[in-house]
Symmetry: C2
Subunit: 227 residues, 2 copies
DNA sequence: CGGGCGCTTGATTTGAATCAAACTGGGTGG
DNA sequence: CCACCCAGTTTGATTCAAATCAAGCGCCCG
């Protein structure tokens, strides 16, 4: 099945980033232990990590967020293909939601995963590396979020996305998320995000063929927030 | 030696948070494998994690930060007693500095640590748990940093610190870091931090016997940023 | 004793939030 | 088929809060 082989390729890549051909047995074992599920846009998918289970995003995207007493939503992480959910046992204050239709998640029971690590040491390394990824992702987002001006934040965000998500045939980023999501992820107002995107376009660091398609024109300018 | 027994107690606590009496052999093994070092205020201590080594803060505090091209310093994490350094192999863009005199760090070589995990499985669990701690710490800071007003940020920060650092005999928090550090950690100007602390004091949610000593008076008010 | 660092307060400016309104495209129902 | 609707996006005007510029204070350390 197509999906099967996609997931296999993903697992092989994750198991040995340098040498995608190796580690087929471990990837097979992961594939066998996984139960896949598919989610629609805005559907809560926190159940995949209930009971301490671990999930891996196969396609689409998942947002991890919390809603404050005053109604403000704060997105603290965006998980895309290859990112793991549920690495920190349980923090009940966060919700998970599929961002787009056809978001597919492979789900593993913790005890199965534990048993697998004893047969395939590479899987234990995989988990460690995904946790390290999560730390780097959060650290990097903190750097972006900690910047002072909206132009620096949005620019840094787009530059970071550039390293994580797929491009269309013309080389433009295809943002999986809306302006509202970006705003809630950066701690800005939607209007500010929109205005800033327009300003970046006028400044020449990006092009916007459509609201969801972003062509990076000048990475340095984008990161500096200097235009 | 006093320090030896302090480090032992720390390792035992980290190895089994629920039952501090157990896991003495693993703690002993960690103690034997560790090389301690002591650092002075503002001294760069990134060398302890050079070559992929792992460090554990025994006392004092360490700040992890990056300096941008425009000179702006961004502190992305503050490590205190029990926190681990170098969990994400190497990200050369961050610097480490001791925050206070007498900051002590236990340092482990990665291969020694690896060998230990094979004898003591609890040590491998320890590392996983410390990584999960780091993720939770960063997520929580992101929630604080993503808030809109300075009062919410500073209030949330103090409330978070409350759960991590020691209190003096009167029950007040002893901040290990300066207003400048707090500002660089929250992405605010020093003046704003100072003003906000004063406002919180006047609002009655905290008391400030001295700039570095904070008594939490009303946690709810502090977290809401509502006063 | 001096100097500098850390902290605080004040006045002004700037930039993002907020309030308000129009526009777009895709989807639905008549 | 077309009118309508609606969520997402954009732009404009105004308000407000934090950055910036400026200056004074207390204290520790040399």
């Amino acid at each position: 099945m197509e999906d099967q082989s996609n997931a296999m390729r993903l697992f092989r890549r994750l198991l040995s980033p340098d040498n995608p051909g190796a580690e087929a047995p471990a990837a097979d074992a992961l594939r066998m232990a996984a139960r896949d599920s598919e989610w629609r846009r805005n559907q809560p998918c926190g159940t995949v990590v209930a009971g301490g289970r671990i999930g891996c995003v196969l396609s689409g995207a998942v947002r991890k967020y919390s809603v404050r007493a005053n109604g403000q939503r704060q997105i603290i992480d965006l998980l895309v293909r290859g990112d793991f959910l549920g690495l920190t046992a349980s923090d009940p204050c966060f919700s998970l939601e599929a961002v787009s239709n056809g978001t597919r998640i492979a789900c593993f029971r913790r005890q199965d995963m534990q048993a697998l690590t004893e047969v395939h040491p590479a899987i234990s390394e995989l988990i460690r590396n995904r946790a390290a990824d999560a730390i780097r992702r959060l650290e990097n987002h903190l750097l972006i979020q900690g910047r002072t001006t909206a132009k620096e934040k949005v620019g840094g965000y787009l530059a970071a996305m550039c390293r994580r998500i797929a491009r269309d045939q013309s080389g433009a980023l295809v943002l999986p998320i809306s302006r509202y999501d970006i705003a809630d992820h950066l701690g800005l107002a939607v209007e500010t995000v929109s205005r800033t995107m327009t300003a970046l376009r006028r400044g020449g660091s990006i092009a916007l063929p459509s609201p969801r398609h972003v062509e990076i024109r000048d990475t340095a300018m984008l990161m500096d927030g200097a235009n």
